[in-house]
């Protein structure tokens, strides 16, 4: 087997707590499908047959009851539950499932919605015998107004600095703004080997990584690394150019033992060599190919550890980890997958005006004289007469009484909107009740118990 897929679905959605305090992030509905359906669908389309899903017990329960997951996902899902306290990082989770991993892995996050041709990433991983291959995308501007934002919010997101070589494929430098206190410093050895480096800041990390099996084994020994994105990837990128990994000599076992005691981490990547390393070396020597030109060194500068990145120029690639991203995804995801706008089991009265880009979930009841434009309505929702819904996202089990006017809002599951309410750019939390004739603009309405969460 070539690659094992691992889906990380235990994340808490820390940047959109208003949405996730009751529903786990992995099961948030996007276009009436749970969020984790999208990466699973991507894997299925690419030809994977088994996926290891790392998630919490709650999500596992919800997965087994969700009809979408049961019917549409034909792959075999091997669900591994971890504790919900949120202390486990992605790398910790990989360490947890180390026993199950037999070959190289493809790690995907549950909040990734994209239609990338995965073979571009995996081909880099295969052709160059890389240790890490990842996917990044040009960041898209979010155009929709986000409920609950007071004024123009400058994204205080920390920028990522990504350095690639001239071909745009080899990853030379990766650091987050938070880690660079004084400034960006680049080692001379990198500059000597790759005199032309492009540093990009407007990229979104899709959190899709192909990792060699040896990296998982390395993680098992180095318990200090807890996050793939935050710690493992920058570490691997730095290690490409470190002196120890560049010594091309084949060390014998005794030397390995000694060095392991001194510096446990550096040699594991060296041990990635296949069993016929001399043959591979012979093939590379006889081959008249070099990945760079202008200096006297051989292909890859003799380095054994290589990291590659595929940067998507066009095409959707979203990470749904903020409210703005969630709204954007709801707009665009159904179009990606050619969703049927109206679920067959929904009951829609004839005098309802439905826009062409609205999506109605299963078992809905839409009454007369309602107008639904550019919105997504979840399963089992009841919409009474004379309601205007525009540009909104309505989740499952919501009841909207007559005469309401909802614009640009997000209504979470099981909420009840009273008669004649007028909501503009609001976020109504889970199970909340809006009193009749309420007028709210640009507010986040959540329960009192939630306000104390930090």
């Amino acid at each position: 087997m070539e690659l094992q897929a691992v889906l990380m679905a235990a994340g808490g959605g820390s940047r959109m707590t208003d949405l996730t305090y009751n529903t786990p992030k992995a099961m948030l509905p996007v276009g009436n499908k749970p969020l984790m359906w999208y990466p699973l669908n991507l894997l299925e389309r690419m030809g994977f047959e088994e996926v290891i899903v790392i998630t919490t017990k709650e999500v596992q329960k919800m997965m087994s009851t969700d009809p979408k997951m049961k019917l549409d996902v034909k792959m075999k899902l091997d669900v591994v539950c971890i504790q919900e306290d949120g202390d486990m990082g992605t790398a910790d989770a990989l360490r947890h499932i180390q026993q199950k991993i037999k070959t190289d892995i493809l790690v995907v996050s549950c909040d990734l919605i994209t239609d990338v041709a995965l073979h571009e990433v995996v081909d880099l991983f295969r052709a160059h015998n890389a240790t890490l291959a990842m996917l990044m995308s040009k960041a898209h501007e979010f155009t929709e107004t986000v409920p609950g934002q007071k004024g123009k919010k400058k994204t205080a997101e920390q920028r990522d600095f990504v350095g690639v070589d001239q071909s745009g494929k080899r990853l030379l430098f990766m650091a987050n703004e938070a880690d660079l206190e004084d400034g960006l410093s680049i080692r001379k050895s990198i500059m000597r080997k790759h005199p032309r480096m492009h540093i990009k800041t407007g990229l979104v990390d899709a959190h899709l990584y192909c990792l060699k099996k040896a990296v998982v084994d390395f993680l098992a020994d180095n318990k200090s690394i807890s996050s793939i994105r935050g710690e493992l990837v920058p570490y691997l990128v730095r290690k490409q150019f470190s002196k120890t990994t560049n010594c091309p000599k084949i060390k014998d076992d005794a030397e390995d033992q000694n060095q392991k005691k001194n510096d446990g981490s550096t040699n594991h990547e060296l041990l990635i060599s296949s069993r016929d390393e001399p043959l591979l070396q012979l093939a590379q020597d006889r081959s008249c190919w070099n990945d760079h030109r202008g200096d006297m060194s051989e292909a890859y500068h003799g380095g054994k550890l290589r990291c590659y990145v595929h940067i998507m120029d066009e095409g959707p690639c979203y990470r749904v980890n903020t409210l703005a991203a969630y709204i954007e995804a709801n707009r665009l995801a159904p179009k990606l997958f050619e969703e049927v706008p109206v679920h067959p089991s929904a009951v829609i009265s004839e005098r309802c005006q439905m826009g062409s880009d609205s999506y109605i979930g299963a078992m809905c009841q839409i009454a007369d004289k309602t107008s639904i434009k550019r919105s997504t309505i979840g399963n089992s929702t009841t919409v009474k007469e004379k309601v205007k819904v525009a540009n909104s996202i309505i989740m499952h089990g919501v009841t909207i009484e007559e005469g309401c006017n909802i614009q640009g809002s997000v209504i979470c599951s099981n909420a009840v909107i009273g008669r004649g309410a007028d909501l503009k750019y609001c976020l109504v939390g889970n199970g909340q009740q809006i009193e009749p004739e309420a007028e709210r603009t640009n507010e986040v309405i959540v329960g009192a118990d939630q306000l104390m969460e930090i």
Binding site: E2, Q4, G47, E49, D285, N290
Partner: protein
């Protein structure tokens, strides 16, 4: 009827002209035959007498041609019948003669019928009639009907412009699916589609784009094809493993991994099942990049070794034996052969020599490095050509050793040759008629060197000797990605939209063929032989095996 003879004459002349223009060499035999035919045509007044006899002869000939005789040099002498036509196109030995056999037979019958109809039309002063091309191989291959009643069996890889052959190839790939891994889903090996406009002379060859790899059509965790083979195919198609030695070594390395991961299914024998398992892998690799002669020989060797495994042998032992065989093969045929060739070559390099090399041949680089270590004093001129610019890599390796080098492009070769004392060339394959198949540009260098009376030495290991026969570079070649030509050194692409210009075709050839007249010596691991001794070596090798 004299006038009936006339339209034939100019027609035949047209065919000959066409054949000449399309670059085929008419050998002396063929020219003699043409002359004979013309004389006969003028003499015979009653064409109808000739025609039935010719038709019957033609019908007999396809029957005889169908009998396996792939070596065309033997065919023309055998058919010295008056209206017999030679086969101006030497046919490379096809590996699947049976598949091409059936179309050959039906083509012959169709041809006979059509010829009869044509003569009838001509007798009644009809129009010119179609000469030659039926469903059969495209124009440059179309044997003009008068000259060639003999139907050739062309290998499928040079019949890309024939839709029937493509359909057959697709079916063959389907049949080669490996059913065991997922019994439920039988995944086929996809067919890689051609890219861009192909120059008409080479329309019978495949032309792929590097940006459309075959892996696009495969599932990502490739279960049908072993991951080592997928990786190898990718490396071939992207040019990461290039050069016939490197490709063979990488192929054998991948086969070692396949053999390691192989388990014999129940009720099957390893010797038969493993060979069947390898077949789809080989077609996959062929789709990624056409196999080289050295790879072909390596595959033949492996298949022979696998089939020779006795059935009582246990699986572990059999696998160990096979892995050992592969290691021995690489050691003998590549590593030790390189050492032997270096030893012979060093005798030929004297102090004060100026050696010219072309492109990046791993063997020639090895020889020069060894000679330098043995303290010979010489300097090297590296000749390079676009679009591959492999000479830069050769230059890097030689300069790293400390050898004094000069670097020129191939357009300067006639200016630099007066300085040169010897030319060392590498080879991709040595053909059975003594021709050297090598990177495109090699024959130019050999030609210019001959004009300047500079000795040309070709270095080639014996495992690259091939039983094919070719006299020109058109019949069997490889077309590389045409987009490589549009990027210049400075990175500008003026021809970015070349596909929109209807009258523009880009051709990126990979190989060419050098006649033995230009090669003075071939240095092999068996010794230093003249070019024409290649068939002897092949015969000796066959006897050994």
């Amino acid at each position: 009827m004299a006038d009936a003879g006339e339209p034939e004459g100019p027609e035949r002349k047209d065919d000959i002209v066409k054949a000449k223009q399309e670059g085929k060499e008419l050998t002396k035999e063929e020219k003699q035959r043409l002359r004979k035919e013309k004389k006969q045509q003028k003499k015979s007044k009653e064409k109808k007498d000739d025609k039935p006899s010719r038709d019957s002869e033609k019908e007999k000939k396809p029957a005889s041609a169908a009998s396996p005789a792939p070596q065309t040099p033997t065919q023309p002498p055998a058919q010295k019948a008056p209206s017999a036509a030679p086969a101006p196109v030497p046919v490379p030995a096809s590996e699947t003669p049976s598949a091409a056999d059936k179309p050959a037979k039906s083509k012959a019958e169709l041809k006979a019928e059509r010829r009869a109809r044509q003569e009838a039309e001509r007798a009644s002063k009809g129009k010119k009639g179609d000469v030659g091309p039926q469903a059969a191989p495209g124009k440059p291959k179309a044997p003009p009907s008068e000259l060639q009643p003999v139907v050739k069996r062309l290998p499928e890889h040079v019949q890309v412009d024939n839709p029937e052959v493509l359909k057959k190839l697709a079916k063959k790939l389907e049949r080669q699916q490996t059913p065991e891994y997922n019994a439920a889903t039988k995944v086929k090996i996809p067919l890689r589609s051609d890219y861009g406009y192909k120059v008409s002379l080479f329309s019978h060859l495949h032309q792929y784009s590097r940006k459309a790899p075959l892996t696009q059509q495969l599932g990502i965790p490739s279960t049908v094809i072993h991951p080592a083979i997928v990786r190898l195919g990718l490396q071939y198609s992207q040019g990461i493993v290039a050069g016939s030695n490197a490709r063979s070594v990488a192929l054998l390395h991948a086969f070692k991994q396949v053999i390691r991961d192989y388990t014999t299914p129940p009720n099957e024998e390893l010797s038969r099942d493993l060979v069947n398992r390898l077949k789809p892998y080989i077609s996959f690799l062929n789709q990624c990049r056409p196999l080289s002669a050295s790879m072909g020989n390596a595959i033949k060797y492996i298949k022979k070794e696998i089939s020779n495994i006795p059935s009582q042998c246990k699986e572990e032992e059999a696998k160990r034996k096979l892995l050992n065989c592969i290691d021995c093969y690489i050691n003998e045929k590549i590593v030790l052969a390189a050492k032997a060739i270096a030893k012979y070559s060093i005798e030929k390099i004297s102090d004060g020599d100026v050696i010219l090399v072309y492109g990046c041949s791993s063997l020639v680089n090895h020889i020069l490095c060894e000679a330098f270590e043995k303290n010979r004093k010489f300097r090297v001129i590296v000749v390079d050509s676009r679009p591959r610019l492999e000479g830069r890599e050769a230059l890097r390796r030689l300069v790293q050793k400390g050898i004094n080098c000069t670097y020129v492009l191939i357009s300067a070769v006639s200016y630099i040759l007066p300085e040169v004392s010897k030319v060392f060339l590498g080879a991709h394959a040595l053909l059975a008629n003594g021709y050297v198949m090598s990177r495109v540009g090699t024959s130019q260098i050999a030609l210019v060197a001959k004009a300047f009376n500079v000795p040309v030495l070709v270095c080639c290991e014996t495992y690259k000797f091939c039983e094919r026969v070719q006299t020109d570079s058109f019949v069997s070649n490889e077309l590389d990605d045409p987009d490589d030509l549009i990027v210049t050194r400075t990175g500008t692409t003026q021809l970015e939209h070349w596909q929109e210009v209807p009258s523009l075709g880009l051709l990126n050839l990979v190989y060419d063929v050098t006649p033995p007249d230009f090669v003075d010596l071939v240095i092999t691991d068996l010794g230093m032989i003249p070019c024409t001794s290649v068939p002897v070596v092949l015969r000796v090798k066959n006897v050994d095996q």
